[in-house]
Each structure stands twice: as C-alpha cells, then as structure tokens.
Symmetry: C2
Subunit: 302 residues, 2 copies
C-alpha cells in the first residue's frame, strides 16, 4: 500500500484560513476552485479562491467559479497556496517565475500528470517555500472551464510527491487540500510515479490513439463502412484518445523515457500474443487471456 499522510487538525485549520491562488482555470483548475468554495453538502474549505487566467477576456467567464479572477500573475504574491493547473510544460515554465513572487512559508504545488521533471525544477525554488508535486488521478475528455465539475476529484487517488529536503508540512498541507476535494492522498516518489502512470495512463492513451489510427487505415479501402460497425467495445477502448491535445503532448514529452520503456513492454506482450495466435497455440493463448481476464475482473469487480 502507498502511504497516506495522517490527517492532522492543524493542516485543516491552515487550509480554512488560507487564500488559494489557482493558475489556470481549465477542467482541473475550475473543478478545484468550485470544490474549494463548497458544493452540495460540502462546506467552503478555504478563506478565499483567486483564479489566475492567461487572457484578460477570460476573467469574466471565471467569475462564477472563484472569489476573484485576474489575468495578473503577480496575484500569487499574497496567496498562502498556489496551485499550478496548466499542462506540464507550462508548469515547468511558470514554476521559477511564480516561486520568485511568492511569500515565504507559502505552499506551491501543481496538478501535472508527470512528476520527475516538475519536482526537479521545484527543488531549485527559493528556500522558505513549501513545495510538493501533486497529481489527482481524475479527469474527462471534454476540457475547459465549461466542463468543470466540483465533484470531479471525489474518490480519486491524489498522488503527492515530496520535494527532497523541503519541510514535511508541504506534503501534509497538500494532503489536507486533497481531502478537502474528497480525494484520497497517497505519497510516492516522482520516479516511481512516472513509471506507474506511464503503465496505467500514458501508454493506454497511446494505445487508444494507435487503435483509432490503425482502424482509420481501413477507412478509404472500405468507403467508410468501418465506422458503421463501431460498438461499445471500441467506444470504451478508445475514449481517452479524445482527450485534450495540449495536455497529452506535454504529458508524453515530459515522461518520455518511461512511456517509451512501457511501450516496449506493451509491444513485447502483443508480439507474444501474435506468436501464440499464429502458431494456433491454444494453451498459451488461453493462459495469457485468462491471466488478463482474472486480473481485470479482480481490479474492478465488473
């Protein structure tokens, strides 16, 4: 089991009094803002939510989701918590700029889907800042503030990567934030994180893209007939291929080594399956398909 930080009363108290600045109000940032301000039976979790968006035109659209919206990044200067809710390569660019403007003792964290590169940049932030990498394992294909939902985080694993030689309060505070969203905080190191999410998320996405593109090779030869046959199986196996492009390009590029390593594992298994099928080796085929079936049924009990 991955360790879960013990909930401490002082972390919840700290959050209740905090001004939280969220940089980026897309699906993840907008949903986070809505959850912190309270939704349904859940009470407001912090003192103030400030949304920081890139363009002045989008400040108005952000209105209903935050206490204050601004296009001025300098607003991070008064925050007790700053959460970077932008794609991973933008996080890497913004980290030094934002860290330089924050007040000592404040917490800087992020929602990026890859962690090694981000935590490495975090490591060179000014002393006195609290720092922790974050990755809530939730989302959906539709992106943008229009798709935001304060319930999005509920029940999701919220992975937290400590930044070496930074105060442990950073992890405890980030865990309090995760709990306020209804998510389940779990702590692990960035290298393990990136290896595991490559297998659980990034390579499954790449596989879904490949399934769509391979099927598309039969589009012209069949006069489009192939798309009339798509059923529930294809819908589910390829759903993630519809996800936000900017985010996925950033994810693959910032987790390149682990994605490539796991793609090798995947093509290795595909080759093994193809070899068994070509040889009509029913025993080997049945053993492999049976192991996958058993594991999948045990994972989700459905």
């Amino acid at each position: 089991m991955l360790p879960t930080p013990e909930p401490e009363r002082q972390d919840a108290t700290w959050l209740a009094g905090a001004e939280v600045a969220i940089v980026g109000l897309g699906l993840m940032g907008g949903s986070l803002a809505g959850a912190l301000r309270g939704a349904g039976a859940a009470p407001r979790a912090c003192r103030r939510v400030v949304g920081i968006v890139r363009r002045a035109e989008t400040v108005a659209a952000a209105g209903p989701w935050v206490d204050t919206a601004t296009a001025d990044l300098a607003a991070v200067g008064t925050a007790d918590v700053v959460i970077l809710a932008v794609p991973p390569r933008t996080i890497l660019q913004l980290l030094p700029i934002v860290a330089a403007q924050m007040r000592p003792g404040a917490l800087l964290t992020d929602l990026g889907s890859t962690k090694s590169a981000i935590v490495e940049v975090m490591s060179s932030s000014p002393a006195g800042l609290l720092l922790a990498g974050g990755h809530p394992m939730c989302g959906k294909e539709a992106g943008g503030l229009a798709a935001a939902d304060p319930q999005l985080y509920r029940g999701a694993p919220y992975l937290i990567c400590p930044v070496p030689s930074r105060p442990a309060a950073a992890v405890a505070h980030t865990a309090a934030l995760a709990r306020a969203l209804g998510a389940q905080p779990r702590v692990l190191d960035p290298a393990t994180h990136d290896q595991l999410v490559a297998a659980i998320s990034h390579v499954p996405y790449t596989g879904a893209v490949a399934l769509v593109l391979a099927a598309a090779q039969l589009d012209a030869p069949t006069g489009g007939a192939i798309w009339e046959l798509v059923a529930g199986g294809f819908r589910d196996t390829t759903r993630v291929a519809a996800g936000e492009l900017d985010m996925w390009i950033d994810i693959l590029l910032t987790n390149r080594a682990e994605v490539l390593a796991h793609l090798q594992r995947l093509t290795g298994v595909l080759t093994t399956l193809a070899t068994a099928l070509a040889a009509e080796d029913t025993a080997a085929l049945g053993a492999a398909l049976g192991a996958a079936q058993e594991r999948r049924r045990r994972l989700f009990r459905a």
Copy 2:
C-alpha cells in the same frame, strides 16, 4: 453506407408464425430468447421459442426465458428458424449436425463474431435450407444466462453475411429477425466483415489484454502499488479484457489472419508514435494525436 435490406411485410409475417430454436442460452442466446418472447412495450415476435442447452441440469434455469427448454439437439427438426448462439468453434462443429436434421425451407443462422469460416461451412449445407451468417454487434463482459437482457440488441448494428448461391430470402428473413430485436440489419460479405471487426473489436480486445499484462509486469517490482493508481482511463481502455474467455479464444482462432494483419497495423502505428516521441518531434506527435482526437470525437460526439 452498408446496404440495409428493405423491410418486407412477408418477412415479418413469416417470423410471427415461426418456431424459433436457439442453440445455446448464454448472454446472447438468452437475451435473444427474451426479446423474441416480448419485453417491455415490444410484443412477442414469433410463435414459439425453443431453447436448446447442452446439459440436462440447465434446462430448469432456462425455463423463464423460453417457451420450451430441452437438452435434445433433435428439437431443431421441427423449427422454422435455428439460431446457433454458441462460441465460433462450436458453431463450426454443430453446423453440419444441425443442418442435417432441419426440415427443408427452414432458416439456419448464427450469432458468431467471425464470419468467413462459418459461412464457408454453411455453403456445404444440404440444398433447400435457407442460410445466412449473422453477427449482432452488442454484448457485455458478464457472460451467461444470468446476465441476459432482452434489451441487449436494441440499437446495435446486426451484420448479415449472405451465403453464396443460397436464396435471398435467407438474408431478408434474418433482417426481419434483427428488426424484431430492435437491432439494425446491415449486409456485407464475410471477408470484409472479418477484416473490419478485427480492427473494431478483436484487436482492441487484444490490446486491452496486452495493457493489463504489461501493467502486471510492474506488480511485483512495486509491491502492488500500481493497482492503487488505476483511474477511469485504465478502467475503460481495459474493460473488454474481462470478457468471456471461451468466446474470445474462438474469435481470435477463427479470425487469425485478419487479427494478425491488423495487429501489424497497430504495432506499426505504435512504432511511428514511439519514434516521434523518442526524437521529441512535437509536430509529428501533435499531428498523429490530433488526427486520432478528431476522428474519435467525430465518431462518438463525446
């Protein structure tokens, strides 16, 4: 567009007076039986539904789904329609045995997920029988009569493969059967069928199996931590891997050439994606991911 047979009054009339024997009462056969006997607002579609099961012990369980249940295959002798609702390799074994016992003018069809091998065996059935291959594109992971649902076929494409040099009434009658289930009949030849379902269903299944087995390689090294991270994306991309083993082994073995050909297309695309990622070729990567996103969003509008 794949052709749809015109609905003819005489086909519906024929079905209304028919005794339908279903060989195999699992998920597909049981759901079919329930739909033919009428469910919800839908009226009964045929005169009599006979369920033929393998074991005498399961005759009782079949009771609520059919008008008569029996373990005696000779019951096909009085039927106007016989539907083989068993896995593909069992269909291949049963076809000559069942065909030899049927009365002239009756319709013999099946629900198998692969069609070339089955239609070839159908071709050597006794003259005077109506024959057509069938493949309703629906299902779910839970198998067996316990999971049966008379609504299962509603809205699904129901693919029909003509058997060369057999009367066209076989296709028209099978289309009437599909319509009685609420499905959408579409006609195509067995070779095209097998090529397309390899791309839309069989290789996506194989890919889901490979994703589960590749992730499982990280089980021991991470002390099982990998399974704590699984989120909605992994759940959906691997759902089909939980499907019924006997059916999937039969599907892959009876569509071997097309599955192997499409696995080559898939690994070709995966290699292209890996090459672009390894080279940090953002333009090539973005073009491929963007094409898949656009196609997927257009297909399902969600």
